[in-house]
């Protein structure tokens, strides 16, 4: 664990000594809960429609596939037509595109970012690497099966998938969301212990709280 994360005594400017435990003080350690959908079916349907038509992608490229997301913003593919936009902060995003191979080091950051996103949230795995390891099946530091660590709503196969495939995948995701079938966040909360055990099995230097709100 890094020195700045360790429990320690600090002397304040007024001379009072107090104890700081960064992992407990700076983070909230409440675990995620399964969130009920809205009580009225029609309201939930409206929200699901809005969620499907307004997909905000977290701008976090984890592997080579990230290069295929940039063309989506260009005139040729223009994903904005479909209500797909990019947000620079996990707080405002609701779709996490794991773009390709995921090294253990990145996985740690991915988990933190994913947990900061708000329910409902979706995960799309891009490329064979997220699906079964792809050409990094024998690598010493990339995971081979994303759905062991995060709830994945949809995979887009290929090495690497073309932007058209991404668009098709996003449209498919929209159908899932509208049908109310994309409940990854709740799945994550329900099987939290299982996901955490899997994550901790590969991430050895776990120096963060179990849930980063």
């Amino acid at each position: 664990m890094k020195a700045e994360l360790e429990k320690r005594l600090v002397t304040g400017p007024d001379g009072v000594e107090f104890e700081v435990d960064p992992l407990r003080d700076y983070y909230c350690d409440a675990l995620p809960e399964v969130q009920r959908p809205a009580y009225l079916r029609i309201v939930e349907d409206l929200f699901n429609w809005a969620r499907a038509e307004s997909i905000w992608i977290l701008g976090f490229g984890t592997g080579c596939g990230a290069i295929e997301m940039r063309p989506l913003m260009t005139p040729r593919f223009d994903a904005y037509r479909y209500g797909i936009q990019w947000r620079p902060t996990p707080r405002q995003a609701n779709l996490f595109v794991i773009s390709g191979y995921l090294s253990v080091k990145t996985l740690k950051r991915v988990i933190r970012s994913y947990e900061q996103m708000q329910n409902p949230k979706y995960v799309v795995g891009l490329g064979s690497c997220t699906l079964n390891g792809g050409m990094y099946f024998d690598s010493y530091n990339t995971i081979k099966r994303l759905d062991q660590y995060l709830p994945v709503d949809l995979y887009i196969t290929g090495c690497m998938p073309r932007p058209e495939a991404l668009l098709a995948g996003f449209l498919e995701l929209k159908k899932l969301i509208r049908a109310g079938k994309a409940e990854g966040a709740n799945q994550y909360a329900a099987n939290f212990a299982w996901y955490k055990a899997n994550q901790k099995q590969v991430i050895h230097d776990w120096d963060m709280p179990d849930y980063n709100w």
Binding site: C28, P88, Q118
Partner: protein
């Protein structure tokens, strides 16, 4: 003067109209920017969808009281600005809550939201938010200077601090507009306008590509939706002030829509063809180009 209670529902109607107009206008602006880049861009109704979605997110996280209050202050700033100046001149219904000294209050409200955001974003504890706020405050302050000078010039010119009276003095033909009676003030104010609309070249504070998205970094779900609501109302409210002070106000809704659209387009047209200034560059720009014009405008009156 007794208070006319019927003003309240009419103000709400104003708010409703302006809110929808603002959402559509924002989408239209995004579309124009997209067309300049040869894209199709977002659909016109995208902002509504985004808004519903953000209100519909199931979880929110709070960082404390000020974190709540930030978006509320911001929205108060927008709505207050809108309601304390007459939206339509000469209309009994849409004069809103304007009163004799409203110009000063309006100036204050322009700043109010930013200050509220500073509190809220500071409480979120995110370093990027604090950074964004300090950039935002310095830039808005610099942009506000020429505007304040221009407003004083106009107030001196018409010897009043009431927006209604200023509009009244501009009626009776295009040549009565401040635009022609005091072009220097208008020039200074329009330069400041570029800066306060958060479009390029002065959009560093809120640009997603910069220190991620600036002050609202931590805002999400319904907080963000509140901020988005404000993004629809606030620019229009600001444009209304410009319209009233410099461009003769509006006497009915079509004229209102047209004038607001045209004034907004000034910043959009400048925006789509400009690269982005850094904060210190934009401050320098305001101090060198806009402030002297504002001072001249005061001297000229």
């Amino acid at each position: 003067m007794s208070f006319d209670w019927m003003r309240i529902p009419w103000s709400l109607v104003t708010l409703f109209i302006v809110f929808n107009y603002g959402l559509l206008l924002n989408a239209l602006i995004a579309k124009i920017a997209a067309r300049v880049g040869r894209r199709h861009g977002i659909p016109l109704w995208q902002n509504y969808v985004d808004l519903i979605k953000n209100y519909g997110q199931r979880t929110t996280i709070s960082h404390g009281v000020h974190f709540y209050l930030g978006p509320v202050f911001r929205l108060t700033g927008g709505i207050g600005l809108l309601l304390f100046v007459p939206t339509l001149y000469g209309s009994a219904y849409f004069a809103n809550l304007s009163f004799a000294g409203d110009l000063i209050l309006a100036l204050y409200f322009v700043f109010f939201g930013t200050l509220g955001m500073a509190l809220g974003a500071g409480e979120s504890g995110h370093p990027y938010a604090a950074l964004g706020v300090s950039r935002g405050l310095s830039q808005v302050t610099a942009a506000e200077l020429p505007f304040a000078l221009a407003v004083f010039a106009v107030a001196l010119q018409y010897q009043t601090l009431s927006v209604t009276e200023i509009v009244a003095a501009q009626q009776g033909g295009i040549h009565h507009w401040t635009l022609f009676t005091n072009p220097l003030a208008v020039a200074a104010a329009m330069l400041s306008f570029l800066g306060s609309m958060m479009r390029p070249p002065f959009d560093l504070v809120l640009a997603p590509q910069e220190i991620p998205i600036g002050p609202p970094t931590e805002y999400h779900s319904s907080y963000l939706a509140l901020l988005q609501t404000n993004r629809a109302i606030f620019p229009i409210a600001k444009v209304v002030i410009y319209m009233n002070l410099f461009f003769g106000g509006a006497t009915n809704w079509p004229v209102f829509f047209l004038k607001v659209f045209l004034i907004t387009m000034v910043s959009v047209v400048v925006g789509v063809v400009s690269p982005r200034f850094r904060v210190e560059q934009s401050i320098r720009w305001f101090l060198i180009w806009a402030v002297p014009i504002g001072i001249l405008a005061i001297l000229w009156v």
